[in-house]
Amino acid sequence: MTAEHVTTEHAMTEQTLRSRLLGVVADWSSDQRSFKSASWGKAMMWIFLVSDTFVFSCFLISYMTVRMSTTVEWPHPSEIFALDIGGKKIPLILIAIMTFDLITSSGTMAMAVNFAYARERKKAAILMLVTAFFGAAFVGMQAFEWSKLIHEGVRPWGNPFGAAQFGSSFFMITGFHGFHVSVGVIFLLIIARAVWRGDYDVGRPGFFTSRKGRYEIVEIMGLYWHFVDLVWVFIFAFFYLW
């Protein structure tokens, strides 16, 4: 590549960046909508997720703070979250499977969105059901992990391995995340049923809202689902790996 090539390319990107920035300014200075391509529902979900990010951030920062403030030693995660398989202790094996499971569910969710926009109802609904299954499996594995730890004597107010805050933070943060996943599973099932029946083709009014839905709801559901996965990655990094 010649030097001249590089400069023109550089100038090009600068040009596109500039025009894109101007585009943002134009959108925000215009009437009617600030996000020109986002529907009301999509905009709402994005803004809700920003707010929810603050909730999870506060939880994680609080966990880090009590981990510093406690005078008792923090239990070693790779020992506590280890499973006995075939007489060997394998650290973090369950968490690895759970993380893999949840990230796979993001893949199936993305495929469901694609098929929903292609109006392939059955495929979209089945993929949503698969996503819901992965989600339910995740919650199930979490329940298994909880009961294992409770069996070993870990309680929110104390545990035999070290700082009491370990159990408190663990149950609170994974519980709050598990609640998010469970809510997601319930909504996935409701929307999958509506997609399967073709509610959005015939414009059947919703049970609660009495309004017609659109296929876009699958994508909005997807936004929530990917967010819950992303949050898990942070919980995984800050709680299990640290």
Binding site: W40, S57, S62, V66, S168, F176
Partner: protein, 588 residues
């Protein structure tokens, strides 16, 4: 020179989204109770907020009676006193002010002012109110449980808030925390609605920079609330776990009544950080809508465009951003690295810049204006004076070395009641007198309104102005009784009696307002569609009060900003936002 100038404001672009599918209520219950119309939800929100507000007003009387006549009223013992202080503070800040500005005025005014048929998610909006109502009922329920409501102070600082010895440590604190968590859930549903409606559901021609400042204030407050309430949510959940499950998030090892508790290794300061990360933005969540409303009141009743509209908008945004990074100034006395104290003092004092800018612009709007001393205008002017007063004492308290000696005294009580108690309440009254004709179709009585204003305004000053002096003397706040205290002179007790008598009188005088409010429903003079000859969109609805869907068959089209008053060459002294452009017009 040519006189046939081409109108600057060409017709706005065509509609980007099709008109919404409105839900039509069929029964009395879906029309007035479980209603999805933002206007009805607004009145439900405001009604509930005012009702609990009256409860909190009565509680303030109990506090004042004890301070002026210690022990004279037998049933106000230390427990009742601390419970009253706590409930008064929490109800007024969260359940009254936040709910009435965002849930009340936000719901009523946002769709009308941006030219929408309703909020974008009417069903979620309805849920928002009902969750708020449940939160309020849970809070009030704490009066009927063993031990009564919590007396931990509205800040609910652990460890004391959940230890025996604090009133209401049995059930009161649990109900308080559950209620706060519910409030936040309900508020989030409403807040998403307000934000998305402003961003995505404006009518043709309504750019962000043509929105009335009321909408800007409510919008910025809603954004801040969605970012700040998570702090309180997390603090509430964790304190609830500390109280019910015995976790030690906020609880260090401690001995209580000679007995070592099971708590170990928690951080009480963490709670303070989380609480004030919510608590400080909360001040501006209340103040920004008040700023917005007062700008509109002043502009309409002074028949002049608001001075420096763009700067007013940017000041709102600057205040919103800055207020997220000043929470530490509530914690100077908790012990803090001096560099943090320095940081928080600098950010706190920096807020004075955009705030002063707003005050100057209000004053410059009044400069050489055609001021009509209507009741809403009087309340707006009352706000200006009160707010400047409270803001200046805020500069004192923002400095670490001044704050430390004053922090635990009545000076702080005087400061925050001036700046976020009286000032926003004056705006609420002004706003009710101003928009009542649109909501009901009838005017409120001007004479009664003026009597109400002067009693409230002068009374509020009589209550809170001397309190600064008591604070500087060193009279502590939160104390149940003073007893024999050498540094407090006997005259301070006389002043306390004066404050209490005034507070009782001003409180009772609010009956004038309620009498006016309800009497005018039936006997008020018919208002017509636009009694104040205002330019903003909510006054241009085809019906008054606005019908379901607000705008009849066609959505309005907007050609200019909402402050086109005294426009040269216009047929009247104002041009509504949706009137077609006139030749030679230069409105933004």
């Amino acid at each position: 020179m040519t006189d046939a100038t081409v109108p600057q404001n060409v017709a706005p672009p065509p509609a980007e989204v099709e008109d919404v599918e409105l839900y039509h209520a069929h029964s009395w219950i879906t029309k007035y109770v479980f209603c999805q119309d933002a206007k009805v939800i607004a009145i439900q929100y405001a009604g509930t907020a005012i009702t609990v507000g009256i409860l909190a007003l009565v509680l303030s009387w109990l506090i004042r009676l004890q301070l002026a006549f210690p022990g004279a009223i037998p049933f106000i013992d230390a427990t009742v006193y601390y419970q009253s202080v706590t409930m008064h503070g929490m109800i007024m800040v969260v359940y009254m002010l936040t709910a009435i500005f965002l849930g009340g005025f936000g719901n009523y005014l946002i769709p009308l002012m941006v030219g929408a048929r309703d909020m974008v998610f009417p069903y979620v909006n309805m849920l928002s109110y009902w969750v708020y109502l449940i939160a309020t009922l849970v809070l009030v329920a704490s009066y009927f449980v063993p031990g009564g409501p919590t007396g931990a102070g509205w800040t609910l600082y652990p460890p004391q808030s959940i230890l025996t010895g604090t009133p209401g440590h049995e059930w009161g604190i649990i109900l308080m925390l559950v209620s706060l968590v519910l409030f936040i859930v309900g508020f989030t549903m409403g807040g998403l609605n307000y934000i998305v409606t402003v961003l995505q559901a404006r009518t043709r021609g309504m750019t962000l920079m043509r929105m009335p400042l009321t909408v800007w204030g409510i919008f910025a407050a809603a954004v801040m609330a969605l970012l700040a309430f998570p702090g309180l949510f997390v603090a509430g959940v964790m304190l609830l776990l500390d109280r019910t499950l015995g976790t030690s998030f906020f609880m260090p090892s401690l001995v209580e009544l000679g007995e070592r508790k099971d708590y170990v290794g928690g951080s009480p300061i963490l709670f303070q950080h989380l609480f004030w990360f919510f608590g400080h933005p909360e001040v501006y969540i209340v103040a920004l809508p008040a700023f917005g409303v007062v700008s509109d009141l002043i502009s309409v009743h002074a028949r002049k465009n608001i001075f420096g509209y763009r700067m007013m908008v940017w000041a709102i945004i600057a205040i919103g951003v800055l207020s997220m990074v000043v929470w530490g100034h509530h914690m100077y006395v908790s012990g803090m690295d001096p560099w943090f104290g320095f940081f928080f003092a600098v950010t706190t004092l920096a807020i004075a810049v955009p705030t002063a800018l707003k005050v100057y612009n209000w004053v410059l709007t009044l400069w050489h204006a055609d001021i009509h001393f209507t009741t809403p205008m009087l309340f707006a002017l009352g706000f200006l004076v009160t707010f400047v007063n409270g803001g200046i004492t805020g500069l004192y308290l923002g400095n670490v070395i001044v704050d430390v000696p004053l922090s635990a005294t009545l000076f702080v009580v005087a400061h925050f009641h001036m700046v976020m108690g009286i000032a926003p309440v004056l705006v609420i009254f002004g706003a009710i007198y101003h928009w009542y004709p649109k909501i009901t179709g009838r005017m409120m009585d001007e004479r009664l309104g003026k009597i109400h204003f002067w009693i409230t305004f002068l009374g509020a000053y009589a209550i809170f102005f001397p309190m600064h002096y008591l604070g500087v003397l060193g009279m502590p706040r939160r104390f149940y009784e003073m007893g024999e205290t050498a540094f407090v002179p006997a005259s301070a007790a006389t002043l306390n009696i004066f404050i209490t008598v005034t507070a009782l009188a001003v409180g009772v005088a609010q009956a004038i307002f309620f009498y006016n409010l309800f009497r005018s429903l039936k006997y008020g003079a018919p208002a017509g569609g636009n009694p104040w000859r205002a330019a903003s969109l909510e006054w241009q609805t085809p019906e008054t009060p606005p019908g379901h869907g607000n705008w009849g068959k066609h959505l309005p089209v907007v050609y200019r900003w909402p402050y086109a008053y005294s426009v040269p060459g216009a047929p009247e002294d104002y041009l509504p936002q949706n009137a077609p452009p006139v030749a030679g017009e230069h409105s933004p």
